[in-house]
């Protein structure tokens, strides 16, 4: 009886979620499904793997380049975020922690395209960084090196995503009971040991979330490889833009999109599996 009542209640109030569901359907599910469909069908609607074959044939180097760039970025990101969050949480110098706590958030409010433009004028051979070195007498104009290219892309990704991942990680660290850290300290543990043995094992799920979300973001950025990259090899988003802008070839662009989606899904699956394993162990 009660079940029927709640069922009716649900039925009567289902329309309340309709606007949100409609938005998700129109602006997310439909484009996603259409993109997947387009990647594996001909114009006539027949199933084909030609587009995927072509995508791998032409852009396998770029796919590998994308994966390497993203993995290197995320590794550096993890190290830097943990370091900054640990300094904020564990540093005995409270004023330094406060300054750091303010500074690290700044990139959060700067869009990727602005970051890319900023980095372009900072990392170029005659950019702000090299000019500063030359002006200070540390380098001659002949010695300067351009960082535009794979290293520039990594620097930009890390700089931009650092705020987001540090925010998540330092939040998780701050949420830990302070007495857990104190208990370790009066048993003789150093701050570094506390970080690795007490704090990190407890914030691994948050670290995983921060890294997976950062990977998905980096995989989807177009402006950075276009503005910082040197053209070849480049990242998959640049290839997708190229296929559409130069050839109007939506099929191969969508096939690249499918590959990109699979890479993200694979990483997300790996993360979820680890997370479930840990929960099972608990």
């Amino acid at each position: 009886m009660r079940q029927t009542t709640s069922h009716n209640l649900l039925k009567n109030h289902l329309w309340l979620i309709a606007p949100a569901a409609l938005m998700v359907g129109i602006f997310f599910l439909y484009p996603l499904c259409f993109s997947l469909y387009s990647a594996i069908t001909l114009d006539s609607g027949e199933f084909t793997l030609t587009h995927l074959n072509k995508a791998f044939e032409l852009y396998s180097k770029d796919i590998l380049f994308t994966i390497i760039i993203v993995l290197i970025s995320v590794a550096i990101l993890a190290v830097l975020s943990i370091t900054i969050a640990a300094l904020i949480t564990l540093s005995p110098f409270r004023s330094l922690s406060k300054i750091l706590g303010f500074l690290y958030r700044l990139p959060l409010f700067i869009p990727f395209i602005v970051t890319a433009q900023m980095m372009r004028s900072f990392l170029a051979k005659n950019g702000l960084m090299n000019n500063a070195f030359v002006a200070s007498g540390l380098l001659t104009p002949m010695d300067t090196v351009s960082f535009l290219g794979w290293s520039g892309i990594i620097i930009t990704f890390v700089w931009k995503q650092l705020a987001f991942s540090t925010l998540l990680i330092s939040g998780a660290m701050a949420a830990l009971d302070d007495s857990q850290i104190r208990a370790a300290r009066n048993l003789g543990a150093s701050r570094l040991r506390i970080l690795f043995q007490i704090i990190l094992p407890q914030i691994t799920p948050t670290l995983g979330v921060a890294m997976v979300l950062s990977i998905v973001t980096m995989m989807s950025v177009l402006s950075v490889p276009l503005m910082i990259g040197t053209g070849s090899p480049t990242m998959m988003t640049a290839d997708m833009a190229f296929r559409i802008n130069s050839y109007g070839d939506y099929h191969v662009a969508n096939a690249l999109g499918l590959v990109s989606y699979c890479i993200c899904a694979g990483l997300a699956w790996f993360y979820l599996r680890q997370n479930l394993k840990e929960k099972g162990a608990n």
């Binding site: 104190r182 370790a184 300290r185 009066n186 048993l187 543990a189 043995q197």
Partner: protein, 365 residues
């Protein structure tokens, strides 16, 4: 274990001074309870001992070592926290053995010590359990074992029983005391529960506003409080400022010209609902006449509120009494805590203790 000596200690947060001129010695194997209301500085004192709050002045000696300027990890003073502070990603054995692992002890030694402590705190067989699977009482025992594992010079306990329910609290209280006697660790326990302090401690230090008001054995603190604050905090909740200029109060003490603060416990007062000549023979230090305002059932007795002029006196009684019943209260002279008010030039008043027993009897109404 070593003795703990605190000398002229000052500590606080930033510019705010919380502890002022604290002097305290805890003998080897002794347990001292720091007792006081919320915000009196008792937890700050523990934090200063452990190195979590900087010491701005004074010195702390653990044994012969001066530790006040050492970082927390070098003091060899361990704490048992109110929130247990166990690490949820570790098993019971890993939690207990962590301090020894930090000291780079051998695996076999760690295992042996962990097994010994598990036996002592009666948690045998739970070594591979996750701490999240334990009850509150078990968690606190793991925390105690973890703090004792490295054989600290001093053990400090910060309200270790506050998070436990009433029944478990009694058993853990008993166990901590038994362990302290068995192992003889030097310890300081913080509590705001006077009963807990009386039962567990060898001596009690009562703190008020960052200063120690009185140190003594539980009996001394309970029966002979040295200040009005200690008397009030130790349960002498009835307070009368003498003279009352009210005929309902009759005091059998000398020194009646002085202004006095008089404290007594509700269980010390004898209530007579229908005063007779028999009762009048009672040799009371203080006699109060009034009428019953309220009667509340307390399980083994009733707590009666008796209205006497502007004062409301709480008294324990074995029978329920209806409102407005005339009542006479008699408080024996030994049960009165009397403090002489000392008038100062400034507005505030200081008090001097007056021994009620040493006073010459003098009838003043």
């Amino acid at each position: 274990m070593a003795h703990l000596h605190i000398k002229n200690l000052q500590a606080g947060y930033g510019k705010k001074l919380i502890l002022d001129n604290i002097n305290l010695t805890v003998e080897q194997g002794e347990m001292i309870a720091l007792l006081g209301p919320s915000g009196c500085g008792k937890t700050t004192l523990l934090n200063a001992l452990c190195g979590f709050v900087p010491v701005s002045h004074g010195e702390i000696f653990a044994g012969n070592r001066a530790v006040s300027q050492l970082p927390a990890e070098k003091r060899n003073i361990t704490m048992v926290f109110q929130s247990y502070a166990l690490w949820p990603h570790m098993t019971v054995a890993q939690n207990i053995g962590y301090g020894l692992k930090v000291q780079k002890a051998k695996r076999a030694d760690i295992d042996a010590r962990v097994a010994e402590l598990l036996r002592i705190v009666k948690l045998d067989g739970l070594d591979h359990e996750k701490v999240t699977a334990l009850s509150g009482g078990q968690r606190q025992r793991v925390a105690l074992a973890r703090a004792l594992a490295i054989r600290p010079d001093v053990l400090v306990l910060d309200e270790p029983l506050s998070n436990l329910d009433a029944k478990v609290r009694l058993s853990v209280r008993h166990e901590i005391k038994a362990l302290q006697k068995q192992l003889g660790f030097t310890s300081l326990i913080v509590t705001h529960d006077q009963e807990e302090a009386l039962v567990m401690a060898d001596r009690i230090a009562v703190l008020n506003q960052g200063k120690i008001e009185q140190i003594g054995t539980p009996e001394e603190i309970y029966h002979h409080p040295s200040t009005p604050f200690v008397a009030d905090f130790m349960g002498a909740e009835n307070h009368i400022e003498w003279p009352t200029h009210d005929d309902a109060f009759c005091l059998n003490l000398s020194n009646h010209a002085d202004q006095l603060d008089i404290y007594f416990r509700s269980e010390s007062a004898v209530l007579s609902a229908h005063p007779t000549s028999e009762n009048a023979d009672f040799n009371a230090g203080l006699t109060i006449s009034g009428q019953v305002e309220q009667s509340v059932f307390f399980g083994n007795n009733y707590q009666i509120s008796v209205r006497c002029g502007k004062h409301t006196i709480q008294v324990d009684h074995d029978q329920n009494l209806p409102e407005h019943t005339p009542a006479t209260l008699r408080i024996p002279i030994d049960a009165l805590h009397v403090f002489a008010k000392k008038e100062k030039h400034s507005d505030h008043q200081k008090t001097n203790i007056v021994s009620a027993k040493s006073m010459r009897m003098n009838h003043v109404c």
